[in-house]
């Protein structure tokens, strides 16, 4: 081995929430089976850019490193995805890395995904089971429905579908594609269904289902393969029925 092979990373950086973003290039030593996280770790180890200048190490968020937590989502070569499963060997070089611009950038590749958690609260994405007395065992769930709910429960609020959606931006209040699969998941549950209409009211309101433009990028981009657009259309039908009921029977 005469010379160390390197990988060129082009990273969009930002020093703070209100600072101007800028691009910085890095050459990191190549190892077999590297992912974007381990490439970023090389920069942390030796924070020197491609021009040989010492710089601040690039910061990012990551947790599970097996694509189940959603923390390391970023835009890699134009596509929002998790950095942990973005293998350097399979990426086009140089590798361009940006934060997901749909969210407020805190610093470098760290974004604030609070809006997703706020949306989960708005639609009451939980099943209330607490009471003053024992409510007994929950009802049984048919296996086919359990399997479908399990697919919907794979959502890790990673934010990729919001980044991919043309209708999630500063000009709209759209909560984003992910929320509808969670509404669907909790409305399908026999105990959760007791609060079905509260969730339907939430997605009928501001930033709700009406803001979907059917570009269907979400379902293409979702790393967990969640049938996001099927949930959207299914809830469209629920809202058709529910709004007629509200309109004609109240």
């Amino acid at each position: 081995m005469s010379e160390q092979k390197t990988v060129r990373l082009i990273i969009k950086r930002q020093d703070g929430p209100d600072s101007q973003p800028y691009w910085e290039e890095f050459d990191v030593p190549y190892r077999k089976n590297m992912n974007v996280i381990s490439a970023l770790m090389e920069i942390q180890r030796n924070p020197v850019n491609a021009k040989g200048q010492k710089t601040r190490p690039v910061v990012w968020e990551s947790n599970c490193l097996e694509e189940v937590c959603g923390a390391c989502s970023m835009v890699i070569n134009g596509r929002p995805r998790q950095a942990c499963t973005a293998l350097i060997d399979k990426l086009e070089k140089p590798v361009r890395i940006e934060p997901m611009a749909t969210f407020p950038v805190i610093r470098d590749l760290i974004v604030d995904r609070s809006r997703m958690f706020d949306a989960l609260k708005r639609v009451k994405a939980w099943i209330p089971i607490d009471g003053t007395h024992d409510l007994g065992p929950g009802p049984r769930i048919p296996e086919t429905e359990r399997q479908w709910m399990y697919e919907l429960s794979k959502c890790m609020t990673c934010g990729v579908c919001l980044e991919a959606c043309p209708n999630v931006n500063a000009k709209s209040s759209f909560m984003g594609p992910f929320i509808f699969s969670q509404v669907q998941r909790f409305n399908m549950h026999p105990t959760g269904a007791m609060h079905k209409e509260e969730r339907l009211d939430a997605i009928m309101g501001e930033g709700g289902l009406a803001e979907c433009g059917n570009a269907q990028n979400c379902v293409q981009a979702c790393p967990k393969g969640i049938p996001l657009t099927t949930s959207i259309a299914a809830l469209n039908w629920e809202l058709t029925k529910y709004s007629l009921k509200k309109w004609l029977r109240s």
Partner: protein, 213 residues
Amino acid sequence: MSSDRAFVYRRLHSLLGVIPVGAFLVEHLLTNYFATRGEAAYTEKVLWLNNLPFLILLEVFFIFLPILFHGVYGLYIAYQAKPNLGSFGTFRNTMFVLQRVTGVLTLIFIAWHVWETRVQVALGNVAKEELYDLMVSILSNGWMFAFYLVGVIAAVFHFANGLWSFLVSWGITVGPRAQRISTYVTMVIFVFVSYIGVAALLAFRNAAVALGS
């Protein structure tokens, strides 16, 4: 109700796009198609339509106001989108962008077309019996012919693809298979209705060429 405003407007937008605006588009193009059978056949249909009772009410409540609402709210919808075809060049995303582009094109075209035809009739500059000649003279200009061609095809695309999203927005086609089949069906509608519209344009155009020679 107030918090549901976006929902109600969006559903109204979707509904009006099909009924009555989409239905009117098909009716209008079918009537125009009679131009392929000559001036007499065309003028007969025009006069029949113009003899409908309560015509002005039909025009205001089933054509003008629905198009106005659909167009204005549609501009707002188009403004809210931030297209990202560069990073997501998928079929549906392309259709999403085309739906917004053709919507704006159609609105411009309709405004111009209504000014040139219906408004001129209302102002008394053109008699209903002269509409055939008016269209022949408009389409004798090559640029106007191109403008009408683009306008008609944009309107028909917007209608056909709008039917697809109508079916999704009301929750009728839910799964990917149903949505794929409705894509095929609506695209066949696009091709067929475009043919009807363009055939009429060509009929006027050919009459203009015949007059010129």
